[in-house]
């Protein structure tokens, strides 16, 4: 770490768990913030037992999914359901600039660690709550995950054929929308605190963040009474537009032709076959009217090429085209390699494995990855002794009383889901 990091000296007490919350802390940690994760063996983070596990054996420190969300962070094990645990949690809040939590609404309040209580300990605290549907409202208490939220937010209704079933954008789609808004606002809050000395409460409903990505659909409904439907891979302003089958098993290339110039170039690439001459396909309206036929004719040509060949041929003539990458393709993508998107860190249990870089690069303050995700309680000694200044005796007592949890406190049966 040769350059000064943007958030060096910024301290985060991360009570947040699963995906969205830790993603917030991750972005700050990559730019030098000191992020302490507060976890408990008694109620391990759901993701610690999620696939993929090292050597297919699930275990508290073996999940690469958990790990990828938590590089550069310190991890402690603490039972905040015990009074002494809450006392320690409050010490951390006093130490921190930022607190993050992503539990069901009311959880932190019951623990006496909500924003109102945190303000008493640290008046200028910046406190982040993020959960599925927000802290209040008739559905606020409903516990669910990103997958359910993607459905609630309407995304599957917009994926697939108009005459077919709705398709899942899989995994937890809205988990990857919410956190970035929080980081954006959080930095604003930090800036404001520098000027005013005042903290802030940031409260997010991931549902609300997800719906923001449907903006045109919302307006179309309220103005025109229209419920936007899925349209496979079509686009009102382009034809051809979609993915075309290529040589090999389940290989596709996305091609998008918007302008007349692109259409002319496209015809050249495919060898100016007879079917492209004549009025039928010469204009966009004509191609839209005969789109099924257009797609069929193009597919007859594309199946003779690999997706990579197609992309190269099209791009050489200035036509937007891209391989429908598998995950493995992304790992091998020369552009992603150039961007150094994959950062490899050595984890004590998982060993060397891949973490995401960010989507942005900074000319003067590059992000830095220097620590793999913490094992549960890995940094107990550092945080309790160095950061909080607790004595050896106090720490020993906390261990004896189970305030500091250990593997012995893990729930019976580490079955994954």
């Amino acid at each position: 770490m040769s350059k000064k990091q943007v958030f060096e000296g910024v301290k985060v007490a991360e009570f947040a768990w699963v995906a969205v919350g830790p993603q917030i802390g991750r972005t700050l940690a990559e730019h030098g913030a000191t992020v302490v994760r507060i976890e408990s063996h008694r109620r391990p983070d759901l993701l610690r037992l999620a696939s993929p596990a090292k050597d297919f054996k699930p275990g508290i420190d073996r999940s690469a999914f958990f790990a990828m969300l938590n590089p550069n962070k310190y991890g402690i094990s603490l039972d905040v359901s015990k009074p002494k645990g809450r006392e320690i949690a409050k010490k951390l809040i006093k130490w921190a600039d930022i607190v993050t939590e992503s539990f069901a609404p009311g959880t932190m309040k019951r623990l006496g660690l909500d924003y109102e209580e945190a303000k008493k300990i640290k008046p200028d605290i910046i406190y982040v709550s993020t959960c599925m549907q927000g802290q209040y409202g008739p559905h606020a208490a409903h516990g669910a995950y990103g997958d359910q939220l993607a459905a609630l937010s309407g995304f599957p209704a917009l994926v697939g054929r108009p005459d077919g079933e709705p398709e899942m954008p899989p995994l937890a789609y809205t988990d990857w929308i919410g956190p970035w808004y929080v980081v954006t606002a959080l930095i604003g809050a930090l800036l404001r605190r520098r000027k005013t000395g005042r903290g802030m409460y940031l409260e997010q409903s991931q549902y609300e963040a997800g719906v923001a990505f449907l903006a045109q659909g919302i307006l179309d409904y309220t103005v025109n009474g229209r419920i936007m439907n899925r349209m496979a891979n079509r686009d009102p302003y382009a034809a051809p537009h979609g993915v075309y089958p290529c040589k090999g098993e389940d290989r596709w290339c996305a091609i998008a032709v918007f302008t007349d110039e692109e259409w002319k170039a496209f015809c050249e690439v495919i060898g100016n076959p007879a079917w492209t001459k004549g009025a039928k396909f010469a204009t966009l309206p004509g191609r839209k009217q005969n789109e099924d036929e257009l797609d069929r004719l193009i597919a007859e040509w594309t199946v003779n090429y690999t997706a990579e060949e197609l992309m190269t041929l099209m791009q050489a003539k200035g036509i937007p085209a891209g391989v429908v990458y598998t995950i493995g393709d992304v790992f091998n993508c020369p552009q992603m390699k150039h961007r150094q998107h994959f950062v490899y860190l050595d984890h004590p249990v998982i060993e060397r494995h891949a973490y995401h870089n960010e989507a942005s690069r900074f000319s003067k303050t590059p992000q830095d990855f220097y620590k793999a995700a913490p094992c549960l309680g890995e940094d107990n000694e550092y945080v309790y002794k160095e950061v909080l200044g607790l004595s050896d005796d106090e720490i020993a007592e906390m261990l004896v009383e189970g305030v500091i949890t250990t593997d012995a406190d893990l729930p019976v049966g580490e079955a994954s889901w």
Binding site: V159, Y181, R194, Q216, R226, Y325, A415, W417
Partner: protein, 425 residues
């Protein structure tokens, strides 16, 4: 610097953004503008071509009636400027003097070719932050590749997981990839802004839309990293790869009487999930259904071990029950019994959500020239000290030319006319 926003102070109201973006970057300026920044949208004379993208207000195709433009350009004032003319560039440079952030999404190298690259802007204003959002980044083997939403979506890896194995992969019909890229550009701009406030030093932020969208792949990334297994299109479920004993397909989108619901029907070590699945089965049992699951101990449901056959039997029993209930009935039961279940909503159902209503999520924005008020999505995160607010509707073409050029830069009406004729504005 006079802040011409007529509203109260926002989170970012002491900052000014010059927004040169096209479709790839519209959303970035909106995000920061809704948080209070003074955003100046700079369009080519005659308006941005994206104003021809629908849907349109009452289906009237017109550059001042594009709902797409409205949705992505709130909280921005608008000026016209042609940076391809020398005079246009000089005006831009003058604006840079007092700006904090410049957002652009042109093809890599374009700004440099005009003498408006980061080094040039830094010389004018050492604290300037320039954020460039492009399909693949500013440099690299694919930096000059032509892209559109479906291309960046495809090359971000997530598309390969969307849909059914027996069909082509799909994108979301409301284009997503530029929104995600813009959101990361907004976040990156803020990181640079913080550094600027602490040190006085600006910098160049280079955001890749491809990378931004790759995060959607979530656990599929480490799954490939550890197991070299490509996440498949799983239709209405998820295939858990288990390289030792073969994958397990678990349903996520379940048909019910009048549509679909998403349910996580699992168990294992997570008490919440165990309780949820138990409650759902109890509901079914009460109506004499899913009898084969009566008393099933969900804590022993181990997705890493259970056979596909056993899993499918569980699912069939549950589907039979779900088909007798509507989305609404199931959601109400889920709220009552803490079942991890949510309905697949259409836009209409989202608009009618009692939860979003209680949260006052949707906001009404005046469009005086339409004689109408339009409903917009609201805050992606609520703030305590300062309001998130759609400060104004998206700008009309050149709406604030007078305000910026005359009142701020001190140009006379004659100069403005001359510049218009010279096509610089």
């Amino acid at each position: 610097m006079e802040n011409l926003n007529s509203q109260k102070e926002g989170l970012l109201s002491s900052y000014r953004l010059l927004d040169l973006s096209n479709e790839r970057g519209f959303y970035c300026g909106k995000i920061l503008g809704d948080f209070g920044a003074d955003v100046i949208k700079i369009e080519p004379p005659g308006g941005d071509p994206a104003r021809n993208i629908g849907p349109f207000y009452k289906d009237i195709t017109h550059p001042e009636k594009s709902l797409y433009w409205f949705a992505l350009n709130t909280s921005k004032r608008g000026i016209t400027l042609n940076i391809e003319t020398a005079e246009g560039r000089e005006l831009f440079k003058r604006l840079v003097e007092t700006a904090d952030i410049v957002i652009e999404s042109f093809d890599p190298g374009y700004m440099d070719s005009l003498g408006l690259g980061y080094p040039a802007l830094e010389e004018i204003n050492p604290g300037i932050i320039m954020t460039s959002v492009t399909p693949f980044g500013l440099t690299g083997p694919y930096a000059d590749y032509k892209a559109s939403d479906i291309v960046t979506w495809a090359m971000a890896g997530f598309m390969s997981t969307c849909g059914e194995q027996s069909e082509p992969p799909y994108r979301v019909s409301i284009p997503q990839s530029y929104l995600q890229g813009s959101l990361h550009a907004a976040m990156g701009s803020m990181i640079a802004l913080y550094h600027r406030e602490v040190t006085g030093e600006g910098q160049h932020v280079d955001t890749s839309i491809q990378e931004a969208n790759f995060f959607f792949t979530e656990e599929a990334m480490p799954v490939w990293d550890l197991w070299k297994y490509n996440w498949q299109r799983d239709g209405p479920g998820a295939s858990l790869p288990r390289p030792n004993i073969g994958p397990l397909w678990m349903r996520l989108l379940w048909p019910c009487k009048d549509g679909y619901v998403n349910i996580f029907l699992v168990g294992g070590a997570q008490k919440g999930l165990v309780n949820s699945s138990t409650a759902l089965v109890k509901m079914a049992n009460k109506e004499g259904m899913a009898e084969n699951l009566r008393g099933y101990n969900w804590a022993t449901h181990d997705a890493s071990q259970i056979s596909q056959e056993e899993r499918s039997q569980i699912e069939e029993a549950v589907i039979a029950f779900l088909r007798t209930k509507t989305k609404q009935e199931l959601y109400e039961a889920a709220l009552e019994e803490e079942i991890v279940l949510a309905p697949l909503n259409t836009v209409k159902e989202i608009m009618e959500s009692p939860q979003l209503a209680a949260r006052e999520y949707f906001v009404e924005v005046q469009h005086p020239e339409l004689g109408d008020t339009i409903t917009y999505p609201g805050a992606p995160v609520k703030l305590s000290e300062v309001p998130w607010r759609i400060n104004r509707r998206a700008p009309l073409i050149g709406e604030h030319n007078e305000g910026i050029y005359e009142k701020e830069l001190g140009l006379t009406k004659e100069e403005l006319s001359r510049l218009k004729v010279a096509k610089a504005i």
